[in-house]
């Protein structure tokens, strides 16, 4: 099994390199869902299967009967930098939590946003307190470890906010949680809202302590993004839930439009959501097309 994982990871890296991407991901190939290695590293065995939003994919609910604490001891299987083999990050509890050395730099590491983590959990605890505790005691040490291992971009998945929205009183705790996640780790921190229209939340999103905000442009109207962005924009320009591969020209057009009208300090082109809903061959073709389009955009805007 380890050999199969190594082979799949090598292939995935090769596809990203061939596409000319600017950041390389391990594709979370060892993660059975976005919470699993984190939860297992806390010594919790998740049980109940729950639908992942409106997809035919299911995750096991993280269960918290008490707040995770800094002394609670998340166990991070830490691969040695430069290691070309996945062990000890591979297999077992918390397997693959940190990208191994075979993923080239610059790397992007993906984790759940603290808001989504706290909302998707099964708990009777106050969810905002849980959110901050997860940020401080789970995400922060793991992100620190990822940065130490070479990650330069930390990508926080936030479909909960996109799909279900957020109550007014939850913005302040989310801000606290993101401050805790951010720490002094030094990598670029992006919060990617997807599976919904980010438009109604943009005023608040743009004040959060992150370096970049991600939007799902399948669901979000570009006209609502406004202008004069002072944060990076992670633009979800490829549909991770549709097997038809977008044309490079359609991506170039919308990316050029975003660059011209929003003028963000950094524009990241990516899929609107994770690519795990696509067969591997389709995902690979999308990544190749994304790289092709990004190169054209760079030529056009002289990045």
């Amino acid at each position: 099994v380890d050999a199969a994982f190594r082979s799949d990871l090598a292939r995935w890296v090769e596809v990203q390199q061939g596409a000319g991407l600017d950041f390389y991901s391990d594709g979370l190939l060892r993660w059975q869902d976005i919470f699993r290695p984190l939860v297992e590293s806390l010594g919790i065995k998740p049980h109940t299967l729950v639908r992942w939003f409106d997809t035919n994919t299911f995750f096991r609910e993280p269960e918290f009967s008490s707040l995770p604490s800094p002394s609670g001891g998340i166990s991070i299987p830490f691969p040695s930098a430069g290691s070309s083999i996945p062990s000890p990050s591979g297999g077992g509890q918390g397997g693959g939590l940190i990208s191994d050395g075979s993923v080239p730099s610059p790397r992007v590491s993906t984790f759940p946003s603290p808001f989504m983590f706290s909302r998707a959990a099964r708990t009777s605890l106050d969810r905002n307190r849980l959110m901050v505790a997860l940020a401080e005691s789970v995400l922060r040490p793991v992100i620190d470890a990822a940065v130490k291992a070479g990650s330069e971009l930390i990508h926080l998945e936030e479909p909960w906010l996109g799909y279900y929205g957020i109550a007014k009183q939850d913005w302040a705790p989310l801000r606290d949680a993101l401050e805790a996640v951010r720490g002094k780790q030094g990598a670029t921190l992006a919060l990617h809202v997807y599976f919904g229209d980010a438009g109604p939340h943009l005023d608040q999103l743009r004040t959060l302590p992150v370096d970049a905000i991600g939007v799902d442009l399948i669901e979000t109207d570009v006209a609502t993004l406004g202008g004069g962005w002072d944060k990076g924009l992670v633009a979800g320009v490829m549909n991770g839930r549709q097997s038809l591969v977008e044309s490079a020209s359609s991506i170039v057009e919308v990316a050029g439009h975003l660059a011209d009208t929003l003028r963000p300090p950094a524009l990241y082109l990516t899929s609107n959501c994770e690519l795990g809903f696509l067969p591997t061959s389709v995902a690979e073709r999308k990544v190749q097309r994304l790289g092709e389009a990004a190169n054209k955009v760079k030529e056009l805007v002289s990045v």
């Binding site: 035919n56 549709q242 097997s243 044309s247």
Partner: protein
Amino acid sequence: VSTALDHKPLLTHEVGSLDKPGWRVKAYAGKPLSERDLEEARSWGEQLVVPDYQRLLDLLGHGNFSKEQKAEIQRWSSLYALRLEETAGLDVVYDGEQQRTEMYDWAVKHANGFERRGSVRAFDNKYYTKAAVVAPISLASPYHNAEFSYLVSVADAELKVPVTGAYTIADWSFDERNALDTDLRAPAAERRRRRHEARRDFVLQVARNLIRPNLQALIGLGARWIQVDEPGASTEPDELDLFVDSFNASVEGLDAIFSTHLCFSDYNLFFPAIERMSQCRQFAVGFANYDSRELGTSDEARPGYQVIKKFRDLPYKPALGLGVLDIHSDFIESPELVRDRVLYAVKVFGDPARIHVTPDCGLRTRSWRVAFDKLRSMTAGVQLARQELRI
């Protein structure tokens, strides 16, 4: 069937799939069988008292199976699964879908208009193969006739045919007929509206042109109870009306008893939409996955079953197929736990004739040993409930 469905209190049945035995999978794939595979065929044949199972052992000993021999091995697998369910004491049975590749793939494979695209994850490290619709949809050939005809000839218990529903087939497929999001600068609301229109057309094409003619073929062979499996039904909460429309388009006016299987969803989402599914005589719904393993018949003891009140109050008074076995765990529910789940449901419904007892879903992710033990525990639990209720 109609009499049993309407009047037997606490009727028991399976939901659909069972794991495929190693000897069936390897023989069909042309792979060599191990001693363990042969022993599995022997020991289950003996335990389930499968008639003439020695003939299967002789057949498996040959190797290099012809197409006809592979079909025969599949029928043996069906017979074993049927006997497993009958031996466990179920009132209504099928064959654990032994002759199908998988609930989605099997249907799509027999349809025109689809092309396979590859595998995607469902949960943990379990994957399924997805296809894309690329052309008008139609039935290439009826795809449950052969298995049904065989099972009718060998079953002792009543049969219920599980058939994957239109909404789930559409939801688990990609739609490549039209590129709808080619210009992301276009207003999102307009793009969303076009997606919804295309989706509705897709789902109803599957219902009218694939599912309905396949059901008609089954009914023509004498199928009386057909369970429309819709595990994907609540995937899109704003499409529950479309799911209901697809069910009605599939079954309206057909002469059979229809039920629906729903699982792993927030079942509250189905209301009020399913109030329009009046031709659905029973909803088989998974609850155990969400429930406590503690004994008791109070609301507090049965957190996974709180939503059943809504099924009770449906205007056309369908039965509820009460899922009492967690199919994602090897935990064997005790007869007492099954009993308490059943008694709770009877208390809520006030009528044991409206409660049927089932696993949460198909048991294909469990070994036959675990599946058998779970089903036996289920029927034993129903006996305890019957004693308690004096019925």
